[in-house]
């Protein structure tokens, strides 16, 4: 598997320093997977820092793990300080969580990585990376890698792939989505991997849910996927992790990015691009809420 040796050394050195100086108790990064690629790793001891790696296989968005670090494992103790390795798309999720007051900036040390795009285990570049022009994270405490001059790629229309579905007549579009949802096994991997999905009890998993019961059937799957997409409007950072982890290959990015485009058209807003104090849908301007 391709490892970027110089950056791997820098990540390890950074982790060693942070852990040895007790600045953080844990570094969330990537390690070599026994299956060949990279996988998430949690380093608690400076002597373990050499497990960390960096390369184009580091495609997971680790920000979802910050939710596990919001409280101390021991009752009565302060939440831990942690460091996290973040690509540009991941860093946008950090901004979203900061705005939603899920994490505290001073407890998170962001090891920002200059990103050239990631690839799957066959070496193919993810479509999310092919249409992404961001090379530098939007928030970081240290930046590793050569910061390029301006975006190294230009993408004409990042939403071009949406049109195939949008141009279908409504009944055909419904059939398309029902056919996709039919394969869903309601494993919730899309929700679990999403940094923006952090409700303690998901409204689609409540024992007393009014809208959807526990059945793994088409109506419940239909409501779940549309509901989840709507709950991410103005919050989705287009990391497409939901689509990557789906064991049944549902094209979930098409749903989420339809709403990303909507928010951009309406409010000129892309979630997490800037550090903001308030989530978009909570903002009240002179004319009231933007919606």
């Amino acid at each position: 598997m391709p490892i970027n040796e110089p950056l791997t050394q820098q990540v390890r050195e950074q982790a060693r320093q942070l852990l040895a100086s007790n600045q953080v108790t844990c570094v969330i990064g990537y390690e070599k997977s026994p299956r060949g690629g990279a996988r998430p790793a949690f380093i608690y001891d400076a002597t373990e820092a050499d497990r960390l790696i960096w390369g184009p296989d580091c495609f997971h968005n680790l920000v979802t793990y910050l939710h596990d670090k919001k409280t101390s494992p021991r009752r009565g103790e302060e939440p831990p300080h942690v460091a996290i390795v973040a690509k540009p798309c991941d860093s946008r999720a950090i901004n979203v969580l900061l705005a939603e007051q899920q994490i505290e900036r001073e407890r998170i040390f962001v090891i920002g990585m200059v990103c050239e795009g990631t690839q799957d285990h066959t070496g193919e570049v993810f479509s999310r990376c092919a249409r992404c022009a961001d090379r530098v994270p939007v928030v970081y405490d240290v930046l590793l890698g050569e910061s390029p001059e301006g975006p190294s790629v230009s993408v004409d229309d990042v939403f071009a792939d949406l049109s195939a579905v949008e141009e279908m007549p409504p009944s055909e579009r419904l059939s398309f989505w029902l056919r996709e949802f039919d394969r869903c096994i309601r494993c919730y991997a899309c929700r679990q991997v999403c940094p923006g999905c952090y409700c303690t009890t998901c409204m689609f998993e409540r024992d007393d849910g009014l809208w959807v019961d526990i059945g793994i059937e088409l109506p419940q799957k239909h409501v779940f996927h549309l509901g989840r997409a709507l709950h991410l409007a103005g919050r989705c950072v287009e990391c497409d992790e939901c689509e990557r982890v789906c064991p049944m290959g549902l094209p979930l990015s098409l749903l989420n990015r339809r709403l990303v485009r909507e928010m951009e058209t309406l409010y000129d807003y892309r979630a997490g691009r800037e550090e903001s104090l308030t989530p978009l849908l909570f903002e009240l301007g002179e004319e009231g809420s933007p919606i």
Binding site: S33, T64, D68, I185, A189, Q192, D207, G249
Partner: protein, 333 residues
Amino acid sequence: MMVATLNGLQDWLQDLAQRYDLIAPCNVDGHVLYRPVASGDEVLLDYERPELSAKDYFLPATEILLQVEQQGGQVIQEEILPDRKQVIFGLRPCDAHGLAAIDALFLKQDPVDRNYAHHRARTVLLGLACPQMWDGCFCTSVGGAPDDPTHLDVLFREVNGGYGVEVVTEKGESVLEGLTLKERKGKPSPSGADAEKIPLASSQEWRSLFGRDQMWRRHGERCLSCRICTYVCPTCRCFDVADRVVAEQGGVTHIERIRVWDACTSTNYRRAAGGHNSRPTKPGRIRNRFFCKFCYYPEDFGALGCVGCGRCIVSCPVDIDITEVMRDVAGAV
């Protein structure tokens, strides 16, 4: 060895689809899944390992256990079970092995699981041997083999110029009517014999490592708490039960009692009345999942809870690898 020709097999499958509810591996929008087929043409013969096991046809992802009609003080309950015979063709030997593992609890312990027993009794298992071990497979390490006929009714295997047919049970024999077989000399060569063996620790050895918190944290902390591994698993059989109102018409309330797959990896699996969750962390849940397979289930019900199909390995989004855990456990005792 009895051999059927490809054409003979296809004609027979065509006929089988008319006579029974036929389930077989098909291509569903690019995914190989065991699905009901209306015609023999849909049946795949050249495929790796279907992405989901066949447990859905014995322990459906959602099954209606009971239909209830309530009118005033009067309550009518009706249990419904399909009565048609079901034939699964192209079942991989590991999936049949998985059913044997579920049998250990649902059939061999009291009380017998009524619905599961019904589906088992009405189903004929026609296996198709894997020509090789696929990515992630380790069936030969946990008592199986790519061409193991043990838990099947009939085992088919691709041989030069056709399909070898090994009848295992009378139940299997009964559906072969119409399939032309010719005797041929020689025996098929076994497959998977040279596959690498993953060390298998005893349940006692597993027990001795329960308190290795560091080790379980290392394996479990990256878990997403999704349900992929348990839902793709041919032996995971946990379920939840709920009642739902489906219609209210003319003073009559129609209620269904459903049974739905559940997963020990999910956050709230262990949540009890009052809200306490006795397994609140990812490492704790991951440890439980592996202990269930290699310690609790074998001790309590006499069967391993893993058949080495490898689905959980290839489908885990964060590369939690059951064989890595098995090696670690065997290496640590």
